[in-house]
């Protein structure tokens, strides 16, 4: 069969197979859907732990508040970027969107560690407590990442590994934000290192596994 004929035949076949499809909602709307799941979990944690502990820590160490805001904004930006990268034709520059909030998150956490003065209301974390942080971030990131991968499999990410890195960043940042609600101590170097390790683990695992799950079919 000559090639124009081959294309015509295929177009004819695809036309015969055509059924109406439900259009994918805009990336920001899909990101909002995922973020509302995070918000529901946050509401649950707030009901359980109360808001006073978090506010007390924030007033005595404002950089913790900035780190928390940075983490929340990183989660929002990375989720939005991931959903945008899931649509063919959207710019890859979306991947830069989470960078400024991530810098705020990392920078403010770092400042918290470098502070020599530690407020009396908070105490520095011991090794068991920082392990708890790692477990918390990783265990919340797994379902949040799985949810994002599942949502993005309906899309068509042409850069699967980059998209998976955004998924990892979004879920790790969201988990770190949730951790703020029940974090019982100030950010010390050990704690920050554990957070960095947890975030790196989540992003790395997503890049390795998520990238494969999102490969164009």
């Amino acid at each position: 069969m000559s090639d124009p004929r081959r294309h015509e035949a295929l177009i004819d076949t695809l036309g015969a197979e055509l059924v109406p499809v439900r259009r994918l909602p805009a990336p920001w709307l899909r990101a909002l859907g995922w973020l509302s799941v995070v918000a529901v979990i946050a509401a649950g944690l707030l009901m359980h732990y109360g808001i006073t502990g978090m506010l007390r820590r924030w007033t005595s160490a404002p950089d913790l508040a900035w780190a928390g805001i940075g983490a929340v904004l990183t989660a929002i930006a990375a989720a939005w970027a991931a959903f945008s990268l899931g649509v063919p034709g959207r710019s890859e520059r979306w991947a830069w969107l989470p960078l400024p909030p991530a810098l705020l998150w990392i920078g403010a956490s770092g400042v918290g560690c470098l502070r020599t003065w530690i407020p009396s209301e908070t105490h520095v974390a011991g090794i068991h407590e920082v392990n708890d942080c790692l477990v918390f971030i990783v265990s919340f990131s797994i379902p949040l990442s799985a949810c994002l991968v599942w949502l993005l499999r309906r899309a068509f990410p042409l850069r699967p590994v980059l998209t998976a890195v955004m998924i990892g960043l979004a879920s790790a940042a969201a988990s770190a934000s949730l951790l703020e609600i029940c974090h019982a101590f100030d950010a010390a170097v050990t704690d920050l290192l554990m957070h960095v390790l947890a975030v790196a683990l989540v992003i790395g695992a997503n890049a390795a596994m998520g990238g494969r799950l999102l490969q164009p079919r």
Binding site: D3, H7, E8, L10, A16, P88
Partner: protein
């Protein structure tokens, strides 16, 4: 002095001329750009109708897309004999992911991104095949003709390999291969025999052939 002034004057004149030429180029390109934008908007509207199930709009937009896909494939460096494969793969992908198109945005940009991806896939798979295959001259020097018995065995082996590959296909695809390729039934006969519609059989056959090609060439 007068020479330098004249030269300066010439340069100004040259600059003026080149600016004029650039301006003319921009002005003459403008209708083309506008025409491209209009064509893009027309395709966007057709694809939006196709998403709602309009078959005629769908076939028109797909037919309109072939030229664009070819251009993208060529730009990516796909060999001329492989461009049509990229067109086919892109059309199939467009069909599968048509729900990801947002009609408020450029159709051409959406299609070009998918076509570029499929072109890169084609380049990669060709690269893999080229590395695996020997150049003819080298093959001729190191592997002289074998006797007929060996060739016969090889033929049997590849037939067996094909039969095994067919056996691993999903039921729908296997059925299409058996009906259309092995039993050489017409589409209408096969459709009557299997109770499936002709379109589904054709798509299944296409997918099966692709899977078999990949299986036999050892690609994922």
């Amino acid at each position: 002095m007068s020479l330098s002034l004249t030269a300066g004057g010439m340069m100004v004149l040259d600059d003026g001329l080149s600016l004029g030429l650039q301006l003319r180029a921009i002005l003459s390109a403008e209708p083309t750009i506008r025409a491209n934008e209009e064509a893009d908007q027309r395709r966007a509207a057709l694809m939006a109708a196709a998403q709602a199930g309009d078959r005629r709009a769908y076939e028109r937009v797909l037919a309109d897309s072939v030229g664009l896909i070819r251009a993208v494939a060529r730009r990516q460096g796909v060999a001329p004999d492989a461009v049509d494969d990229v067109v086919q793969e892109t059309l199939l992908t467009v069909h599968r992911v048509r729900h990801t198109y947002d009609p408020s945005r450029s159709y051409d940009a959406w299609l070009a991104a998918i076509a570029a991806r499929r072109a890169i896939d084609a380049l990669r798979s060709h690269g893999r095949r080229d590395r695996r295959e020997l150049h003819d001259e080298y093959a001729l020097e190191t592997h002289p003709d074998r006797d007929d018995a060996t060739r016969e065995t090889e033929r049997e082996q590849s037939a067996q390999q094909l039969r095994d590959a067919i056996a691993t296909l999903p039921p729908g695809q296997r059925e299409a291969v058996e009906q259309l390729a092995l039993k050489e039934r017409s589409l209408a006969e096969a459709a009557q025999h299997t109770g499936r519609n002709a379109g589904a059989l054709k798509v299944n056959l296409h997918r099966a052939l692709k899977a078999l090609r990949n299986r036999i060439h050892g690609e994922p």
